[in-house]
């Protein structure tokens, strides 16, 4: 492997201490106790306008999942092509901070991050009025500071808040919700251990993860991502459950956005 000459290098190889845990001490994937029901989303904390340099930004916390997003633009496209003349371009960069997961991640963007960038872009695009920004591009940068599950879903919500905070015209906000299916139990907004837990037990029937992105006012789904193996009826149920989960987020997003508007400027004179 060619080593990275642009970063300070450590030893050639190193292992996470978690690999050396005595087998009896491995923390088990616990089922949800009392506090949160299987159909509950985690309480979401959201704020807009934290990154001073950006056009718009948002920070979102759901349980231990922590995501920050900033939006830049509309700015000039460096290499234009014919389609850019009529509509703008949306660009997404999705990154997991090296310290965000149980195992340390690499600095160089991996294929997982690239896939997430692409999915995020597809989920957001239908919500943005790109025709209002000809010849220019809008950049969305997402960094996951801590990954405790459902990162794609929360990244969608966080990014759409950052876009709205940046005054980018949108048909609707975009909300994301994820679900983990394990046999007959389904867990809404799964945490990281719940996401992994289902795979630890091996490959089984009716087991998988679904992420849905919703435009709540238009009542349209802009992104649907499912992996694993699920029965048709479970999948439709899962999507429906996710839609409910999205709607639950709406008041939080609405409040964070209106708060940011108020903080930036007093109401204009009539």
């Amino acid at each position: 492997m060619p080593f990275d000459t642009r970063r300070i290098r450590g030893p050639e190889e190193s292992q996470s201490p978690l690999l050396f845990l005595s087998p009896d001490k491995v923390p088990e994937a616990s089922s949800r106790q009392g506090v949160r029901g299987n159909g509950d989303v985690r309480p979401v904390f959201a704020r807009c306008g934290l990154v001073s340099q950006a056009k718009g930004s948002a920070y979102l916390e759901a349980g231990n999942t922590k995501i920050i997003c900033s939006v830049y633009g509309p700015r000039e496209i460096e290499r234009k092509d014919e389609t850019d003349m009529k509509t703008g371009r949306l660009v997404c960069d999705f990154r997991l901070a090296p310290f965000s997961c149980m195992k340390r991640g690499a600095w160089i963007q991996g294929s997982e991050e690239r896939d997430l960038s692409a999915t995020l872009l597809e989920s957001l695009q239908p919500g943005v009025c790109l025709h209002r920004y000809p010849r220019s591009q809008i950049e969305v940068n997402v960094i996951v500071l801590e990954n405790d599950g459902s990162i794609l879903a929360h990244a969608v919500t966080c990014a759409s808040m950052a876009l709205a905070d940046g005054g980018i015209e949108m048909y609707d906000v975009v909300l994301g919700c994820a679900l983990g299916q394990n046999g007959n139990t389904c867990l809404v907004d799964p945490s990281h251990s719940e996401e992994c837990g289902s795979w630890h037990e091996g490959y089984g029937e009716n087991r998988g993860c679904v992420t849905v992105a919703l435009l709540p006012n238009l009542n349209q789904v802009s992104g649907l991502n499912a992996d694993g193996e699920m029965r048709e009826d479970t999948l439709t149920d899962a999507v429906r459950t996710c839609l409910d989960g999205c709607h639950k987020l709406y008041p939080v997003v609405q409040q964070a956005l209106t708060r940011a508007v108020k903080r930036k400027a007093p109401p204009p004179e009539k």
Binding site: T5, R6, R7, I8, R9
Partner: protein, 219 residues
């Protein structure tokens, strides 16, 4: 035509040669003891649009290590050399153009950054670029006994508790650049600056002599 200055006791033997390469617009080698740097300057030349600055020239410095690819350490040194060159050059005279300084490490035996600075300055002079001042690099090592050694060798650097490199300007003899490692007291810092300023006199005299010798031949 290797010019040597043996009268110097504080600095190791040093010497330089200019215009030894035919392709660059200016070139030089600078040797301090066993440390040796080869420098080439290209420019003013066309600049990439993304790097263009509308009212001055864009300076780039590349340091090539003796072996392997340049790493983060080289990048930090490049920044030091580049910003020192920027302070010395009259960049507004060449707007929207590029100046590239390439420094090839031939051998590293301590005081590398200082030698890079000296080689760069000689090469810039050779390229005939307008400069408002000259600069030179001096490295001081503070030994564990608290003694100051100027222009240390690699072995002396390893033994030292602190290492300070300064770029001194030729007009006011003040500090243009400073890069340090190890810990030291304020008093030691002041001493090192004073010693470097003194040593810089020799190097500037050497610059003057070598230029004089070179142009007296042309007449």
């Amino acid at each position: 035509m290797m010019e040597l200055d043996q009268s110097c006791s504080v600095l190791r033997e040093y010497g330089s040669e200019q215009s030894l390469l035919s392709r660059p617009d200016g070139s030089s080698t600078f040797v301090q003891g066993d440390t040796s740097i080869l420098a080439g300057v290209y420019g003013p030349a066309e600049v990439k649009i993304s790097k263009e600055i509308y009212d001055r020239a864009t300076v780039e410095v590349l340091i090539q290590p003796k072996m392997g690819l340049p790493s983060v350490r080289e990048r930090a040194r490049e920044q030091c050399v580049r910003e020192t060159c920027e302070a010395a050059l009259q960049l507004t005279l060449h707007p929207r153009s590029s100046l590239t300084v390439i420094l090839q490490v031939v051998h590293d035996d301590g005081s590398l950054l200082a030698c890079c600075l000296n080689a760069a300055c000689m090469a810039l002079m050779d390229a005939g670029l307008p400069m408002s001042l000259l600069f030179c690099g001096v490295t001081c090592a503070i030994s564990r006994e608290g003694q100051i050694i100027t222009d240390p060798s690699a072995a002396q650097e390893k033994e030292s508790q602190a290492l300070l490199t300064f770029a001194i300007d030729s007009v006011e003899r003040s500090v243009l650049m400073s890069s340090t490692s190890g810990s030291f007291s304020v008093h030691e810092l002041q001493q090192c600056i004073a010693v470097s300023q003194k040593a810089s006199e020799q190097i500037f005299q050497f610059y003057r002599d070598s230029v004089k010798r070179r142009y007296s031949k042309i007449q």
